[in-house]
Amino acid sequence: MMRFILPFIVFVALSGFLYVGLHLDPHEVPSPLIGKAAPPFNLPQLHDPAKNFSPEQMKGKVWLLNVWASWCVSCKEEHPILVQLAGKHIVPIYGLDYKDKSADAQATLNGGGDPYTLTVSDADGRIGIDYGVYGVPETYVIDKQGIIQYKQIGPITHQNLSEKILPLVAELEKRS
């Protein structure tokens, strides 16, 4: 009897591993920045390069930092969702325009609506490296103390917004 049961158990275990493996995305690399302070920067604003923006200014607020670019295809996918979210005034969204031309970025925002409270330009991608960006779009949820609490790799969808991001934002809002 053991002769049949043992291989069967091994087979079931292996199938289980393979099944779980099917749903894992090897492109999602867990960020070591979660639970750490958002790296500081001081970058010119897209619409007004004379003015700068720094995450320091967001102390005491829960906010989203969305890394995007006009050349990025999946950013176009999430753009209407961001515009919708911005309309609800639940959480301010700040844009980090990653390795982009200012004119192209402005044209994108003029065409599809601007969900961002403001956007900063990271033209050479150095701040992107500090944030561990390896593929746009990426979105960081940053709490009142300036700690990164969550990183969404890939576009924001209705699903991950309602299941992960918004509940987390609500919880972080409650904390002092």
Binding site: V29, P30, G128, G132, Y134, G135
Partner: protein, 186 residues
């Protein structure tokens, strides 16, 4: 009748000669065309060489950068090293490594810099940590388990085969055969 036959044979050899000559000419044009195409293909190579020279302003530094980047993983095309990847992020990270090297940072400091941003995933050589124990020792554990299982099975098999006691008759036959063999050999 005979004359016409030789005539047609002559005609045939003439035609075949013509065909060979034409093929030769064709071959020549082909060779010429392929030569010129390959020469054309070389042009961008030279153009590129000019660019690369600019990047490798300091060959010693460049060598160190490549040696370091070969052991780091590109995050965009995950099975390529940072040294060989053509992804834009890899180019930026190589630039970063180059700059930090020229500032006099050690290899260890640069690796720490990258790990702080991208995690252990950038390392092709995973560090020994509580959650990598299975990765480091799993294969040896499997080997040990397999060896144990094999030993256990072998022992069980030895026990399950009963030793057959020979009858007196069979014993006698066996000695006779063995002795015969010895004599034959002698």
């Amino acid at each position: 009748m005979k004359q016409t036959a030789t005539l047609s044979a002559d005609l045939r050899s003439f035609i075949s000669g013509f065909l060979i000559l034409r093929n030769l000419c064709n071959l020549r044009t082909k060779v010429f065309a392929s030569l010129s195409i390959s020469l054309l293909c070389l042009i961008p190579l030279f153009a590129h060489a000019g660019e690369a020279k600019d990047l490798a302003a300091d060959p010693v530094l460049e060598k160190r950068m490549i040696a370091l980047a070969e052991n780091l993983r590109c995050l965009v095309c995950q099975n390529e090293s940072l040294a060989s990847s053509h992804a834009e992020l890899a180019e930026d990270l190589r630039r970063e490594v180059r700059e930090q090297l020229s500032k006099g940072k050690s290899d260890k400091e640069i690796i720490e810099y990258l790990v702080a941003r991208y995690g252990d995933f950038v390392l092709y050589n995973p560090p020994m940590k509580s959650y990598t124990i299975l990765l480091w020792f799993g294969p040896f554990a499997l080997l040990l388990a397999a060896a144990g299982l094999l030993l256990f099975q072998l022992r069980k098999r030895r026990q399950s085969i009963p030793e057959v006691a020979l009858s007196a008759e069979a014993q006698e036959r066996a000695t006779l055969l063995l002795n015969n063999d010895k004599e034959n050999l002698a």
